[in-house]
């Protein structure tokens, strides 16, 4: 199968500071790929580079057969890549419903946006209850639901989830992982970054371990979960 997202030799960073070095990574369509590694490893930087919020210094990002590494963020979103950013980044000054509908701002998402809105309300009844409230007034877990719902409004094929469980209560963490599995069942392709390595690798099909801006290990997720070295270093076992 050809990968939906195929990154080769990617390096990127902030201005003169290089963070990611020679990253290569593939995401198969319909799969969950986990990107795990400690705080500061470069997971968020990689997510931002995939969406074009940061420009790649070198290397290629091939999505759906075309190199998108030079295109602006809005055309990547319009191509079907949606990011659920670290820290959720919902718009506090907009209502829940405005946040969701703004998620469909790109042309590809115009058609059927209201149907998708209803579908998201069915899936997340909490968002429907709160649809006229300002997003800033919601709890962290609710904001995470909103950020995921907002990404779905863009009618994506590839969903990038950047540390979606950060700062959430254990019960919400479980819920978020259920949602992620459901996304795969619904036919979406998911790239998931997590510090919660064990849960992420248990949920994912494929895994990449990233440290100090380089991929140190990769393979089928179930193999990584059982790898004694991984267990020792990342799960603290």
């Amino acid at each position: 199968m050809t990968a939906l997202l195929d990154i080769k030799g990617l390096s990127a960073g902030y201005g003169p500071v290089v963070i990611l070095r020679d990253i290569s990574l593939g995401v198969e369509p319909g799969s969950i790929t986990a990107l795990v590694g400690p705080n500061g490893a470069g997971k968020t930087t990689l997510m931002k580079t995939i969406l074009g919020l940061i420009r790649a210094n070198s290397g290629s990002i091939v999505y759906d057969g075309a190199d998108i590494s030079r295109s602006p963020s809005h055309s990547r979103v319009d191509g079907g890549i949606a990011l659920v950013p670290e820290g959720r980044m919902v718009f506090a000054a907009l209502t829940v419903e405005q946040n969701l509908r703004l998620g469909a701002v790109v042309p590809r998402a115009h058609g059927g946006a209201l149907e998708r809105l209803e579908e998201i309300y069915r899936q997340f009844p909490r968002l429907k209850e709160r649809r006229r409230q300002l997003a800033g007034s919601m709890s962290g877990g609710e904001q995470q639901m909103l950020a995921i719902g907002r990404s779905l409004m863009a009618k994506p094929r590839l969903i990038l989830l950047d540390e979606p469980t950060l700062g959430l209560a254990p019960i919400m963490v479980k819920k978020v992982f259920e949602i992620i599995s459901q996304l795969r069942a619904d036919g979406y392709t998911v790239l998931l970054s997590e510090q919660n390595s064990k849960l992420a690798l248990e949920t994912a099909d494929h895994g990449y371990i990233i440290e100090n801006g380089i991929v140190t290990l990769s393979g089928p997720a179930h193999q990584l979960v059982d790898d004694p070295e991984v267990k020792r270093r990342y799960f603290g076992m």
Binding site: Y14, G15, L51, L53, P72, S73, H74, V77, D78, L83, P85, M89, V90, F91, A92, A93, L94, Q98, R101, L102, G103, A104, V105, V106, A109, R150, A154
Partner: protein
Amino acid sequence: MFQQLLFAAVVSGALYALVALGLNLVYGSLRLLNIAHGDLVMIGAYTAFWSFTLLGISPVVSLATTTVLCAAFGFLVYVVLLKRQLGSPALAQRLEANSLIIFYGLSVILQNGASLAFSATSRGYQFLDGVHMFGGVSATGSMLLLLGVAAAITLGALAFLRFHVAGWSLLAVIERKDAAAVVGVNVERVQMISICAGFAIAGIAGVLVSMTQQITPFMGFPFTIAAFVVVIMGGLGNIAAGIAAGFVLGFIETFGVALTSATYRSILIYGIFVGVLLLRPQGLFGKAVQAR
């Protein structure tokens, strides 16, 4: 007497709200303080004046020509002075500081250019100056036109921000540029349109002012100051609160001057400015957006 003052307050409040709306659009979406904002009011005023006196064109038509003219000027400023620098994070950092100098330079050029071209003489013309009476209030047609246009634009802006997805895109860019880019908002385009709209609104305000007051090449500065006061009162980048604050300033100014004397006008305005900065730097109503 009271109704007359009230009417005067509403008219000047509407004008302040309009001028400040333009400034706030540019600040909100680009985080740049346009010190030349009032000078665009002056450009609009002269456009209306010359169109009327030389060509006999009604200021109502000048509203449209000024919109196009000032929007085009905004586009030029965006493309020539700002676009490249906003595009790179390193240059954008410096632009925030440099923008004061860029816009100050623009202001000096516009003021002195106008005074060279048109001389510093104050000018005016008569348009819709017949007085209408209703309910103890006497109002000229030009004041009513000013009020109508200013109200239409400010209310239109509020409705746009509330009901249209493009309005939410603008609010998103104002709140967090990077998050707006995440959802696929074309941030550069929003910024470009904002600067065009901000400049156009200033020009429109100038046309309205020219119908009711004498104009000079240096009339812009007090408008810049008033707009700053209003925008600070409302909270920087907070568009809706800025519109409300415009009316607040109109009321404070009109009633303040009526209770004291016209010599206190500037003291009043600067006093409010300093007072708000000291006591409620986040604005009277909501909160200011984060500088970044």
